[in-house]
């Protein structure tokens, strides 16, 4: 039995070591499993040295090391570095949920049967830790991956000490990748700008160089320099800061624009379904928000059913949400709205009643608490364009998705026979009926389509906010505003209205605060409707009453 376990351990160790070497296949060291022979005495010293003597030892290790030493430094920085008392082997503590195991630093193999008493910790303090952090970055500067090198320079920017600068100077000339070289140049410029001993002209040139950067560190250095006595340096730093501020403001503007577009895309998704039902049938569906909510809950349920495939769950959730909300929509139309034909105000009340029932239903089934829907890995994170401007991926995808849905819907209305009938009914119901269009059937289909799109909107919203029974209510009034603003029965109007309202809200926000900007937009629409009661793009001709 024991042999079997040992075998398993060995196998496991082998597998993991292989995984590791596969990961670091680009590593310059051919054998990542063993420390280079010349470092062995230093390793031994590491276990013996006193607290205060550790730094020189580490410096020696760094001086003749490459990427193979990274695990050692990392483990030590995290305070997980131990050594076995008997043979002085360095091991890493791995804490699982319920047990502690030890693993060889270089071999990556589990050392079996070690108890707490067999090992001793190599302690680190803050000073050592900051040294280690820089050392790791310095070692990474020689990495073969440009991405790693770039991040290493970024890491070093905020703590430029002498050693780092010499390393950077050494590597700068031989660097081949342009991006990394620019970053390194920036780091060196920061250093040069700070050196009071250097002649003014050199420092001013370095400051000029900094004015093109958006890094926080560069800005901090420049701000420090503006407080100095040297007038030439001060003026140059102020000038550079001004240039940077202008660029930051420009990107801030873009950022706001993006958030506005993002809000607009959400509004578009939420209101586009409303626009067709209102446009075709002339009725307001107060339960539209609940169709969105149903879509969001469908996403939640789909994720519950396929917990191991979250990344793909969205592709199941979109059609599922469309179907669930669409079917509920058709049911509402067949059971209630059909009987209230020609009484728009009563329809409004009845659908409101339905929305109350649906909310309470969800509350009873899923509890009134918010439910968390996880974001697929490919949708999380952000796209960093520069240090002050980055786009969150989920918002970007939803923006693209909303446009996709919009154009798909336009195509359905323009190119299919269902679309033709829908447009006919929306323009002149009686005439369409006289021509043989089954208006009842079209009504049900329109309602199903509008509700289904609301369900899809719910899938998108579940990626941005928590899913709760009140999800729909938060969006319904704004969706109405979009439809009314854009003009009924006009999809292009809805598109323009959604994005202009989204952008307007986000641009007002920094000036007035979130709540007041919403109020201002509402008041604006109330006033706008007085001037143009039929919205931005009214239906023309005899179709309009």
């Amino acid at each position: 039995m024991r042999h079997f376990i040992a075998l398993c351990c060995c196998l496991f160790g082998l597998l993991s070591s292989q995984a590791y070497s596969a990961e670091s296949s680009t590593s310059t060291s051919p054998s990542a499993n063993q420390p280079p022979a010349e470092l062995a005495p230093l390793m031994l010293e590491l276990t013996k040295a006193k607290y205060s003597k550790l730094l020189p030892v580490l410096k020696k290790i760094e001086a003749n090391s490459d990427e193979s030493m990274l695990p050692l430094f990392r483990t030590m920085m995290n305070g997980n570095l131990y050594f076995i008392k008997t043979n002085k082997q360095l091991v890493q503590l791995i804490e699982d949920a319920n047990q502690k195991t030890y693993q060889g630093i270089f071999s990556q193999q589990l050392v079996a049967d070690l108890s707490k008493r067999d090992v001793s910790k190599i302690k680190v303090n803050n000073h050592l830790r900051s040294y280690l952090r820089n050392a790791i970055a310095r070692i990474q500067l020689t990495s073969s991956s440009a991405e790693v090198r770039k991040n290493a320079v970024r890491e070093l920017l905020s703590s430029l000490d002498e050693e780092t600068v010499t390393t950077l100077e050494r590597l700068y000339s031989s660097e081949t990748n342009q991006t990394v070289k620019t970053e390194m140049g920036l780091a060196l410029a920061i250093n040069t700008a700070r050196q009071a001993s250097l002649p003014n002209s050199t420092r001013i040139a370095a400051i000029e160089r900094l004015s093109g950067s958006l890094e926080n560190t560069a800005r901090n250095v420049l701000t420090q320099l503006t407080n100095q006595d040297n007038p030439a340096i001060k003026a140059a730093a102020e000038h550079a800061l001004k240039k940077i501020t202008q660029r930051v403001e420009r990107f801030g503007f873009l950022n706001q624009l993006f958030f506005g577009l993002s809000l607009g895309s959400v509004l578009l998704l939420a209101s586009i379904g409303l626009a067709i039902t209102f446009g075709v049938m002339g009725v307001i569906n107060m339960a539209h928000g609940e169709m969105i909510m149903l879509g969001a809950y469908t996403t939640y349920v789909v994720q519950l059913m396929m917990p191991n495939y979250i990344d793909y769950s969205i592709w199941v959730a979109i059609p599922a949400a469309f179907l669930v909300s669409g079917i509920v929509g058709v049911l509402i139309e067949r059971l209630v709205i059909r009987h209230l034909h020609g009484r728009p105000l009563e329809t409004l009340l009845a659908t409101f009643g339905i929305s109350l029932i649906l909310q309470q239903l969800v509350r009873t089934i899923f509890s009134p608490l918010n439910r968390q829907v996880s974001t697929p890995s490919w949708m999380s994170g952000s796209w960093e364009i520069n240090p002050v401007f980055s786009l969150t991926l989920n918002r970007l995808y939803i923006l693209a998705f909303s446009l996709l849905v919009f154009f798909a819907l336009v195509m359905v209305l323009k190119k299919t026979s269902l679309g033709l009938n829908v447009r006919a009914v929306s323009q002149n119901r009686n005439m369409a009926k006289a021509m043989g269009v089954k208006t009842n059937w079209i009504d049900a289909m329109t309602f199903g389509l509008g509700s289904g799109i609301a369900g899809i909107a719910g899938v998108a919203l579940s990626q941005l906010t928590n899913v709760g029974p009140n999800l729909g209510q938060d969006y319904i009034i704004n969706s109405f505003m979009v439809v009314v603003f854009g003009g009924v029965g006009n999809l292009l109007g809805t598109l323009v209205a959604a994005f202009s309202l989204g952008i307007a809200t986000k641009f007002l926000e920094p000036m007035t605060g979130a709540v007041l900007s919403t109020i201002l937009v509402l008041v604006f629409i109330i006033l706008f409707i007085q001037k143009r009661p039929k919205g931005l793009f009214p239906q023309k001709g005899r179709a309009a009453e």
Binding site: H339, L345, L348, L349, G353, I357, I477
Partner: protein, 377 residues
């Protein structure tokens, strides 16, 4: 029989029932008050102060329903924002009651209400001045909702915004106010609203006599508003209003400035809602931004729909019934209330378009036709 049908459809049902309604209302009120004040607490006929306050609340709701019915039932304007006028009236009363607390608040500041001291404000905002005078606060309780209704109506009705558009606009109005009143910077107590009231025109709000008096005043006001509304609606003005409801363009072509009629009716309705709000606040002891929430406004509409729109008595009956059901339901089966309310919306619009009063008149008519037929036979 067509005479009777015509009689009913012109909204004169209320005319026939005005006096009986007022008499019944005042008689019940008087009995409830007397039994609360003079019967011992263990008597079977004793009405507890809790019930008195509850009844007072219901009567405020009835008045509110009346306001909604006046414009929806008689003029066809579905307002989904009447809660805003109600809450504004309530806030005016709340501000007065807040000023009456004086230095008895937690911070003991004689001029500033507690929440202002808490926010670190140094002096009273300009719109709080004068609110320590009862008469001034009561003028404001009527004036502010009336003014808002006038401005909104002037903008909306003149540009001929009608139907669902108007409903959505009114909903947006109350939603915007909801958001605004949630802000601390507005100076209305933010999220918590105004509460912890102590007394009204010198009488403690906790005492039984004050509560009974408030209830009696509410009943009296309801009767007054009922009679005034009835008179207005059965006047020449009311006839034009009915014409607007049935065919606005025709009324306009005949030569009536329909927008003016609608504006003034809207203002009148808002004023009634404001009065209801002002009477509501001292009885429940709190006013907060929640009163502005769109769902409240929409609930008022369902009271009217249940009772029967286009009849003043229907609005009152609907408000009393639905709210009584709500009190009972939320006590026994809290989860079921929204199901019941939602179901009520659907069922009433589908099967009871004229409400309970409409059902009653229908049954009455059927019986009469039958008896006429029998006598003919």
């Amino acid at each position: 029989m067509s005479v009777i049908t015509q009689y009913f459809s012109e909204g004169r049902t209320s005319g026939k029932h005005t006096m009986p309604f007022v008499i019944i209302l005042l008689a019940v009120t008087a009995m409830a008050c007397l039994s609360n004040l003079y019967l011992p607490a263990d008597s079977a006929l004793h009405v507890s102060t809790y019930s008195i306050t509850l009844l007072g609340k219901y009567l405020c709701y009835a008045m509110l329903a009346l306001a909604v019915d006046i414009i929806w039932g008689y003029c066809g304007i579905l307002s989904l924002g009447h809660g805003a006028f109600f809450a504004l009236g309530g806030y005016a009363m709340g501000m007065y009651l807040m000023r009456q607390i004086g230095d008895r608040g937690a911070y003991g500041n004689p001029d500033l209400p507690d929440f202002m001291v808490f926010l670190g404000w140094k002096e009273l905002p300009w719109f709080w001045h004068g609110m320590d005078q009862f008469w001034f606060a009561m003028i404001m309780a009527v004036l502010i909702p009336g003014l808002l209704a006038f401005v909104f109506g002037w903008l909306a009705f003149r540009s001929r915004v009608t139907g669902v558009y108007l409903s959505i606009m009114t909903q947006a109005l109350t939603y915007a106010l909801l958001l605004a009143f949630f802000r601390n910077e507005m100076g209305f107590g933010g999220n918590n609203g105004l509460t912890d009231f102590k007394d009204i025109v010198g009488f403690s709000l906790q005492s039984d006599t004050t509560r009974v008096s408030l209830f009696a005043i509410t009943a009296l006001m309801l009767a007054v508003v009922f009679v005034i509304s009835h008179n207005i609606l059965s006047s020449r003005f009311g006839k034009v209003i009915l014409a607007v409801r049935d065919s606005e363009s025709r009324a306009r072509f005949i030569g009536y400035r329909t927008d003016r009629y609608k504006i003034w009716l809207f203002v009148f309705s808002a004023v009634i809602a404001g009065i209801a709000g002002a009477l509501y606040v001292p009885q429940v002891g709190i006013i907060n931004p929640g009163e502005f929430s769109p769902i409240n406004s929409i609930e008022m509409v369902i009271w009217v729909a249940v009772g029967g729109r286009g009849t003043l008595i229907g609005a009152v009956i609907g408000a009393l019934l639905v709210n009584y059901a709500k009190t009972r339901f939320t006590a026994i089966l809290p989860e079921a209330w929204l199901f019941a309310l939602g179901g009520l919306f659907v069922l009433v619009t589908l099967y009871l378009p004229k409400g309970i009063v409409g059902l009653y008149t229908q049954l009455l008519e059927k019986r009469r036709t039958q008896s006429v037929k029998e006598s003919e036979a």
